[in-house]
Subunit: 454 residues, 2 copies
């Protein structure tokens, strides 16, 4: 019998952890510099909290946890039995399961806000970095357990919040030294376009078609629209949008004419312009107005944002937008907000592919003391203690094994310095330091040790 | 319908998170200073990995996750139905569940070591801070989801490892400013005592009885032993142990006589002496040899350690010991090690009760810029950006609400400084800083802002 991690889930080895922590720490420190507060919710939620929040597919993909203890009381079980056929599988599962695993951070956050509304200071800026689970078929790049890194500002309609989140996005990728383009759109503009050509219900079809412009050209897109049931007149009136190009200013100018008669459209453009202007103020120059951006269309009501890496082919690595009524499903009305979510796994892959992880990430221990025996290692314990209080991580090799074995350990662990302290060194209070990269050896006084590594 | 967190699980509010992070960060930084490497394993494990590892009770307390998708294929289901009665409930659950939630960090770590044995450098010093789940009846202080903070050194039998873990324990509680006593024992000594009085099988009864000395006195303990089936002769020969007291040295001296004929006992005392001596070398003076300490008796084979807070009544807040054959159950022989685990929840309660959390833990944001309107807040955005690059966390209030409302926000969020920048300040490049604690106001030049807060 072979014991492995569950399919679609991952063990993280030390080096992977160090790289992941580099990403999480960067995101966290930027969130904190903007005064965001961290919260955590439990891995499990009651199924009543989770079911119906992610659509039919979501209900299927929820990991459901078997009721413990008395869960199979006979009356419960017999009705369970009656429900048992594929079409009613979720209902049947609900009968023997009360709890499920967190599917995203948003629904538990909404429940959190409702439960703790009297303990929260609004506007509430929260960040949350926790794993989520989906009972999906595991594939390359698709996991059953993965982390989300969310930040939201709720309880304020000010567009300053959109600007702050774009600042955060920009700062995170600056610090990670990853070149990105931030794509920005506004749901109100999309709604206006659909309304103007008389198909308010077909926003999705329109944006999906526009999105293919690069690949299949203007003719291709027009053919597709025609197949989707748009008339030639519809398509003709859409043409200015299909041919939109140029700088942000040029696109906005084209759209101003197009939506001039539509109140919602004018509002959407104003919002967009405001956010773009403020981005300039704070020196963010990689925001691109992208009319084809339509993520989370059923959800977002204002700004929509998505981030793409410039130098590596990869889907969206961060996304977000403004939404109304976050907590309505749990009985608290009129809590709107705006949020973003960093895709840690994809960011990891980008940094890996572009070799952007800092070199020193491999070094967990700075100094290894070679163990020459009882008396020598006792001295090393003291010196190690001093180094640690000077914030220099170090280890004393636990066994007086052969020198070669100990040096190999230092090598395999990427420890840059090795300290040698034998009988001679004890008697004259010195210590030999070997630089593992250059091979150079230096002898210094023991009391200079901390100074040496500072 | 009310939506709440699952019973026995907790939401963590910002202030709780900050306090918990203070504990986790302290533990992490000490682990790191000793060169421990972090790993993570998934929340879910296959039930085959988990079942049978924690005893019958543990099997019941495992959260089991319903198979997704095709889990209720008819042939599977009909055999499930046959198994369904209370006595075979775990077997029945195994039929519709393949996965379960992590119950502790040790079993998944053992599986991890077996799976990744070729990617690990031995001796492997790993730390792991993750939640675990138990389907227990929730009670005060007992949760269904809680964090464990483990460190283990595996692949080395050296007692230097025991010393290193005691150094870590000592340093963590020093940094947390919590007075503790570290209790130390050795399984070999307990085994020797039981063997000497001819009851190798009754170590537990002996230690449980000895443990009650303080409460029920020598006579009480002897009565209890007699009820447990020990003869008067047994009890007489145990008396030197029952009456053991004094300093570590005095206790060791008493025991030396008692176990002198027992090889294992002599070995255990030697180990104990070695660890105590080395603790002195590195300045740890709060280790107490406690013969009644018998935690994890089925598991530990050498050192046993437990930590108690001195100034607050609370169970063990940290524990650990040496074990043989960690990975044997997963097919890899002869991997022994020594480990510790900090009890984060209890440590939290101790710090709370003794008011030992640092005062500044409540401050997430250092500076709030009051929003006086469009033009003023635009200037604030720039200044805020400068502060953040100087590593000073700050926020611009997102709406130009009434002054009072914004000041109240600063108060409720424990923000120590508020910056006011109105029309006047813009025209003469100044800014007013209000100290929220003292009420004092200062006017400075805008370009002095970063300097002011440094």
């Amino acid at each position: 019998m072979e014991y492995k991690a569950v399919k679609g889930t991952r063990d993280f080895l030390p080096l992977q952890m160090q790289k992941r922590n580099y990403i999480f720490d960067t995101i966290t420190s930027v969130y904190k510099s903007h005064g965001f507060l961290q919260i955590e919710t439990p891995a499990m939620e009651n199924l009543s909290t989770l079911m119906g929040k992610y659509g039919e597919e979501g209900d299927k993909l929820l990991f459901k946890i078997l009721d413990s203890g008395m869960f199979l009381r006979s009356e419960k079980f017999s009705s369970f039995e009656q429900e048992i056929n594929q079409s009613r599988i979720n209902k049947a599962a609900s009968m023997i399961c009360e709890k499920g695993l967190r599917y995203d951070l948003t629904v538990p956050f909404a429940r959190f806000v409702v439960n703790h509304q009297n303990d929260i200071v609004f506007p509430f800026k929260r960040y949350q970095i926790q794993p989520v689970w989906r009972a999906d078929k595991p594939q390359k790049g698709r996991y059953r357990e993965f982390y989300q890194c969310d930040a939201d500002i709720i309880g304020s309609n000010s567009l300053m919040n959109e600007v702050e989140l774009l600042e955060i996005i920009s700062e995170v990728f600056n610090r990670l030294r990853l070149n990105v383009t931030i794509k920005l759109n506004n749901r109100k503009i999309l709604a206006a376009i659909a309304s103007i050509i008389g198909h308010e219900d077909k926003i999705t079809e329109i944006t999906v078609a526009i999105d293919k412009l690069d690949k299949i050209g203007l003719n291709g897109v027009e053919q597709e629209l025609s197949q989707d049931g748009f008339t030639n007149d519809d398509i003709a009136s859409l043409r200015p949008i299909l041919q939109i190009k140029g700088s942000n200013e040029e696109k906005i100018s084209t759209l101003k004419t197009f939506v001039s008669t539509n109140e919602q459209g004018v509002k959407g453009l104003e919002e967009l312009q405001y956010v773009l202007d403020k981005c300039k103020t704070v020196g963010i120059d990689n925001v691109e107005f992208d009319i084809t951006l339509a993520r989370g269309l059923n959800y977002y009501t204002g700004a929509i944002v998505e981030v793409k890496a410039d130098d590596v082919a990869m889907g969206s690595i961060t996304g977000g937008g403004r939404y109304d009524n976050l907590t309505g499903i749990f009985g608290l009305k009129d809590v709107s907000g705006v949020g973003i979510s960093f895709g840690a796994d994809r960011i990891y892959d980008c940094l890996e592919e572009l070799d952007l992880f800092p070199e020193d990430i491999k070094t967990a221990t700075n100094v290894l003391f070679i163990n020459f025996g009882e008396k020598e290692s006792e001295k090393c314990l003291e010196l190690a203690k001093n180094l640690r209080s000077a914030n220099i991580s170090c280890e004393v090799y636990p066994d007086s094994s052969k020198m070669q074995k100990q040096m190999k350990y230092a090598n395999n662990r990427n420890i840059p310095f090795v300290c040698l302290l034998g009988e001679n060194e004890i008697s004259n209070n010195t210590i030999v330091i070997k630089n593992m990269l250059s091979g150079e050896q230096t002898t210094i006084n023991q009391h200079e040790l901390c100074q040496y590594f500072k």
